[in-house]
Symmetry: C2
């Protein structure tokens, strides 16, 4: 009985620590989910009319410092940008306002000019839906991301320009 109880404690303890430690799987290119991203501060927002999604762009400490001091071309190593994406929705209380509906995904750009030198100095990662499922069949998915970002090479491969926040 004593051994059974000990076993139960060990199993519960192991499961608990696993969940608290890293419940979300890394991407195929080995990027770990930034667990604290929703505590990061805001850099900008956007509304894509071609696919009807609303976006909020957050930054980690290094990114926020860079954005506020205008040092974003290039962004410094260590900067991470997070983009939260929702499908368009509306509220009955204000039908002429588009608001975030279903959560689509959160995606990240992680600046490390050495580690990610083949993709403009940026590591790309995306986790889909509420299940937070890593995007990409294998590590080569980053070339799909990088291809889309190549037209903004002159802005260090970043579409976002930090918004004016006085």
């Amino acid at each position: 009985m004593k051994n059974l109880l000990l076993c139960c404690f060990l199993i519960i303890g192991f499961a608990g620590s696993g969940h608290a430690g890293n419940a979300v799987s890394p991407t195929p290119n080995g990027i770990a989910f930034p667990e604290d991203y929703k505590d990061w501060r805001v850099i900008s927002s956007s509304h894509r009319l071609d696919n009807n999604t609303l976006r909020v762009i957050l930054g980690n400490e290094t990114a926020i410092e860079a954005a506020r001091s205008g040092q974003t071309n290039p962004w410094p190593n260590g900067a991470i940008l997070a983009k939260l994406v929702w499908k368009d929705s509306t509220l009955p209380s204000w039908e002429k306002a588009v608001v975030p509906g279903e959560f689509v995904h959160v995606e990240f750009m992680i600046k490390d000019s050495k580690k990610h030198q083949n993709t403009g100095g940026w590591g790309f990662a995306r986790w889909k839906g509420l299940q937070q499922e890593p995007y990409g069949q294998d590590a080569s998915f980053v070339y799909e991301c990088f291809g889309c970002h190549t037209p903004v090479k002159e802005n260090d491969y970043v579409f976002t320009h930090p918004s004016i926040i006085p």
Copy 2:
């Protein structure tokens, strides 16, 4: 010469302390500018198609805790919601995306069910433009704000619903 230098130091010192202390004037209803609002965390965003503005809604610590635990009807005393508003703009790199352009204003709803009992428990405040000029000719401007929010009385007078952020 010595007196002139002392005078210069005093003037510089006075101007400096004034700026660091509270450069932004309070609103006519006596609400002080929340200097740290741009470090608050994100609650939601919206895009108003009737007046072509993009918005990001942030919350102070109390508001974020309420939003994440679903305790927003009513919002707790001490919660403050900040809404940042920009005119619609576009980027040459992605013309089908609407992004924040010129900064319009930042406005706040401050929950204090006793102090602001005449306006649904909310204190209203707005600072306009990069000059951060307080909105309102006198303290009665809050009834204009409150009037607009009355249709969402059933949602504690708040238009915003916290977005899903896993």
